[in-house]
């Protein structure tokens, strides 16, 4: 270029130069082609189906998202509220629940319940065995059942002093002695 830029500098500032960019405008021919292409592409969008992931994203942004959130919340609430009812109180080795159908005699209506948790805690702490304890032992029977004997003495407590690793269901049944059939529940 023949002219030296320094010769022009006094009259021109940055804003003037940038304003020149406004003049870079396409011709009418360009806009005619532009309009045709745009209309073509817009028509294609009306016919063309979006990819599955776009539909999914769009769906999640609306009602599906709300329903999914509600369902997730219901599941969480259900897990938090219902699950503890099915969980053992201690989780060391498992739980023994004697089958009530096998031991509850028909016609028994009275219920006797004995809680030994605190006593067993003492025993367990003494023996340094905190991995199990008897939660409750209850017996259902008629008051006029002459064969019913409340026998929840040391036999049943012996269970608690046994090591959990060698503890067996049979021994629990043997030690929770009933003259009459009843319900025994041992949790350790």
């Amino acid at each position: 270029m023949a002219n030296h830029p320094q010769e022009r500098q006094a009259e021109i500032n940055l804003e003037d130069l940038l304003r020149l960019k406004r003049s870079e405008r396409p011709s009418d021919q360009f806009w005619n082609e532009f309009d045709q292409e745009l209309h073509q592409r817009m028509l294609q969008t009306l016919v063309k189906k979006d990819p599955w992931y776009l539909q999914l994203m769009r769906g999640f942004s609306g009602r599906i998202l709300q329903n999914t959130a509600l369902a997730a919340a219901a599941v969480v609430i259900g897990v938090v509220l219902v699950r503890p009812a099915f969980q053992p109180m201690a989780s060391s080795t498992g739980a023994i629940a004697m089958d009530s159908a096998a031991v509850v005699p028909s016609g028994n209506t009275a219920m006797a319940g004995l809680m030994y948790g605190s006593d067993l805690d003492a025993v367990a702490s003494e023996l340094s065995m905190t991995d199990y304890y008897a939660d409750a032992i209850s017996v259902e029977t008629n008051s006029d059942d002459v064969n019913f004997i409340r026998d929840f003495e040391m036999e049943s407590m012996q269970v608690a002093s046994y090591d959990a690793s060698v503890y067996m269901t049979e021994s629990a049944q043997a030690r929770v002695s009933f003259a009459s059939a009843g319900v025994a529940s041992l949790v350790y």
């Binding site: 270029m1 023949a2 002219n3 830029p5 320094q6 010769e7 022009r8 500098q9 006094a10 009259e11 021109i12 500032n13 940055l14 804003e15 003037d16 130069l17 940038l18 304003r19 020149l20 960019k21 406004r22 003049s23 870079e24 405008r25 396409p26 011709s27 360009f30 806009w31 532009f34 309009d35 292409e37 745009l38 592409r41 817009m42 969008t45 009306l46």
Partner: protein, 210 residues
Amino acid sequence: MATTDSVSKAFAPAQDAPLTERDLDWAVVQRVQAGNVAAFDQLVQKYREHIFSVIYNMTSNREDASDLTQETFIKAFQAIARFKGKSSFFTWIYRIAINSTMTFLKKRSRRRYISYENINEEVHSTDIIESLTAKNRSEKGAIVHELQEKLNDSLQKLSPKHRTVVVLHEIEGLSHVEIAEITKASVGTVRSRLHYAKQQLQSYLQDYLG
């Protein structure tokens, strides 16, 4: 400049006229939302040159600008049913254009093709060009081409965010507030970016500015 004036009208206060540009645009949008798809063409005709100008000055590429301008209107068309009118259509369509261009520029970061748009004839009558070619009118074309190249090159040296602010303010003539609304940045951020960008451009174009 006529284009700048028409763009600025979109932000004119309501008391200046019974119906603002924003109101008029919103009326057209509602017609489109009601099923009158052809009404969308009015919005295309109104904003296509502004959008093209922004994208062209962001990309410095004619073909890319054309594609991205079309993409902008297609995106707007696809999403117009969800447009609630919380912002003006003007702001909304500019935002789509800027976001599309930003995404494109990230992908294109390692490639840079510059193709020039023809400078409109009217520019040759401006004082700027006259000043540049004062010494020798026979070099007008060469001077214009050289300056065009230098301007595009300088703009491309800026980061996309700084370039956006410069393009919207210095070329499109939008206010700081309008740019802040479009870019979702604070007015202070816009001013800061503009100041920094102009400093950079001053250094790049030093030969022409002194």
